[in-house]
Subunit: 481 residues, 2 copies
């Protein structure tokens, strides 16, 4: 889906664009201003190649002041800006449509770590894994964890309110942030680097920018929360009959162990089989084949054996209640890692099986089983040989409802059904009070779907806010709204 | 501090106001529209009598549709509205300045309880204690807990982002809410009763209304989070040398027991002495007098004896490190309640000691001890016989920095120093990156202080948002901004 440039496909260095480039170069130096054709880092495309854009130039400011100056100059010239972090998004939110790409890569300082206040002040360009490592260094945990953590940047995590595998225990990115620093669309700097757990002095501005996908301003720094580092973990893969028993098991685990339960992931047999078939070193940890599996982890700042006893007691009760058919308990750290590998390799293991149609949806946790049944029935009715491969963050109600193509169909024929399957799955989700984008955001991919499903007053309010904060419409145009 | 009515001090039943009253009566019936002079329920005054306002009428709509119709009619007539819940606020936020008072009392249904999704959908007028009881009935916990819980309403809790004694473990009200339903200033209804743990479909509208103190619209319902009910608790009062050892102890407790630590409250000797002297049934649980005390509680969904062992191990280590001088462990439920009573009676026990000057402030947790030292030094320098009585939510960095008058000074002479002490304490707080209103909000009381201390760009942004959502300025005018 190519996009049309808003300005000119290449910089008109003699005209208005050239003037802007000259002023930007004067402001932040020549090296940090790259004419767009010089881009070799994939900054014009989205990770999976679904979108390709154009841009006048790529800016690499070094600090908040430079970001503000760049934004002010673009605002003055009426030229749009697309902010980019690690460019790992999955919905085309960072792909430009003409204008300027501003990358946060050089804003990569950890400004402050305060272990006793349990906070870290980080700049937008810090790579997530570097933040995790710095927290670990300070004997603390920054729990945000997702597949792209080696290259995604915290600014992007904030702008998209990233989810990941630790949401059940620690919440989404939004829940991990106390304060933000933001360059507004006209170049003003909002300093709201709040370090406080309690602060009721006016409107909650922070959450307006978190999850706004760069359409209201550029987050340049944030105060993030640290947590005590767990010293013990109990990891189990259980086999069960399917969604209904998995849901009963989830309810049991949460009721009895909410203060330690940190993971409750769901995989059906087809997914596990793909991992066993395609992921190096992954084998079936059980001797019998079962319909579905849950990866359950409890973590604690208390002793390992106390945690093990709690896990065993919960599993024993679940066996007696008929909720689980089999279980493998990770007895060593390497065994625990091996159980995690079955879940972590799932996205990759689907690729050799041919094209997939993907959905990132959520429903109330109490309706996850109902959703899984309804979605399977409707999708298979539409295409009998379809291979549904749902998996994901069951305990958050967030299922990656992926569909692998029938073994006897071409990728192209299958992908032609993308809109039809979107409609089927999203209609079911919507009817259940669910979300068509649980964690990936809207970007370009889901703009039309947002218009279709979102409460109209909510959409109007979003537009009123966009108009109030970015009246010229220069911040990441064509995304979300 | 009396307020001037915006319209007329009594309804002009022949003119424009009378037309509005007639239309409101036609919309929701005659009984729910009370002319303001008929108010005998204290709806024109703030709890402590610091503010007294006037109003045209008091409206008691029965449901969201009626609220919307009332707001629409007032919007059409250009008449301002003050929403009121239980009217228990401490900053004059619910006191009218002419216009209409809209009370949420009759919106008191619990619309839905979903134990497996761990949510409850409640209307704004539900009294907090009724919600706590309904959660308990569903074998769950709604953790929000504060002194006025028997009369405050959840709509007010949301509008003020209430804090209380469970923030350390469960967060502020904001953290306990998944979705809201709001009547906007022009009468439109925003339906964002999100039941989902993960939902990245556009701007975070919910948090804009939470903590806005009714200036952006009227919250009519909310989806709140439920938590597993703890089945065990370990409660201890420890004695320590003062703020520094208390802070070291807090760091230790959090590092080793973060998944169970739910309370870390601080009281100095003067405060404890007042409770012992004035609160019926409260006695000193220790035989020696110490400078300061911490009330510590751990709660768990696991076994009592495992929790007791964790508490004992932590206390033993703290003794060895010299962080605590003495400790009383609650051995029975009634002993635990008795320890809590020492903290809960503190606000009341200050009254017989004469006038207090109060501050609701927060600083980064790592700087609480530094703040307590600096504030004492500066306040006592201003008034040598002053009796500082700081206490509060130490683990949140939130101290109620209360000052009791010298024993040899009149209340009036002492209260004349209110502005001077505000300036001293708030300047120190501000210099430490703290907040002049940790949990009570801004209302009328702290409007000028907000202008003095808040980042100017943040204030501008708040005004842009207010202008975008309530351009006529009819929602709770004269509050916050």
């Amino acid at each position: 889906m190519p996009t049309t440039p808003l300005l000119s496909p290449s910089p008109d260095t003699q005209g208005r664009d050239g003037d802007l480039i000259a002023r930007l170069t004067a402001a932040i130096g020549p090296d940090p201003v790259l004419p767009a054709p010089a881009d070799i880092g994939g900054r014009l495309i989205e990770d999976r190649g679904l979108f390709k854009g154009t841009a006048l130039a790529i800016l690499r400011p070094a600090n908040t002041g430079e970001v503000a100056e760049c934004v002010r100059l673009c605002h003055e010239a009426g030229v749009p800006i697309v902010p980019q972090g690690g460019n790992t998004g999955l919905v085309g939110g960072g792909v430009p449509d003409g204008g300027i790409i501003l990358i946060t890569q050089r804003l990569n300082r950890i400004r402050e770590t305060d272990p006793l206040n349990a906070t870290m002040t980080v700049e937008a360009g810090c790579v997530l894994s570097a933040i995790q490592a710095a927290a670990d260094e300070a004997d603390a945990l920054f729990p945000l964890s997702l597949a792209s953590e080696g290259s995604c940047q915290i600014g992007g995590n904030l702008s998209t309110n990233a989810g990941g595998t630790a949401v059940l225990r620690y919440g989404n990115t939004r829940d991990l942030v106390l304060g933000v620093e933001v360059v507004l669309p006209d170049g003003r700097i909002l300093s709201d680097l709040n370090l406080l757990r309690k602060n009721n002095t006016g409107y909650d501005l922070r959450n307006l920018f978190i999850g706004a996908e760069g359409t209201l301003g550029i987050i340049t720094a944030a105060v993030i929360k640290l947590f005590p580092k767990p010293v013990s973990r109990a990891t189990t893969l259980v086999a069960c009959e399917g969604p209904d028993t998995a849901l009963a098991l989830y309810g049991r685990m949460r009721a009895s162990n909410a203060d330690t339960l940190s993971t409750f992931e769901y995989i059906e047999r087809l997914g596990l089989q793909m991992v066993i078939d395609h992921a190096a070193g992954c084998t079936d940890p059980m001797t019998t084949v079962y319909p579905a599996y849950c990866l359950i982890e409890m973590t604690s700042t208390g002793a390992q054996n106390a945690l093990d006893l709690r896990m065993e007691a919960a599993l024993e009760a679940a066996f007696e209640a008929g909720e689980i058919s089999d279980a493998v308990i990770g007895a060593s750290e390497s065994q625990k890692d091996a159980l995690w590998a079955l879940r972590e390799n799932l996205s990759e293991a689907q690729k050799p099986e041919g094209a997939s149609i993907k959905h990132d949806v959520s429903v109330p946790v109490s309706r996850v089983a109902e959703f899984l049944h309804a979605a399977r029935a409707a999708c298979v009715a539409h295409m009998p040989n379809l291979r549904p491969c749902p998996f994901g963050h069951f305990g958050d109600g967030n299922i990656h409802y992926n569909l692998s193509r029938p073994t006897d169909m071409s990728d192209a024929d299958f992908l032609a059904e993308y809109p039809a399957f979107n409609r089927i799955v999203h209609d079911i989700v919507h009817d259940m009070g669910g979300s068509i984008s649980a964690e990936h955001g809207i970007g370009q991919v889901k703009r039309a779907e947002l218009r279709r499903y979102k409460d109209p007053v909510a959409l109007e309010l979003m537009e009123q806010i966009k108009q109030a904060i970015d009246p010229a419409g220069l911040m990441n145009p064509g995304k979300v709204l």
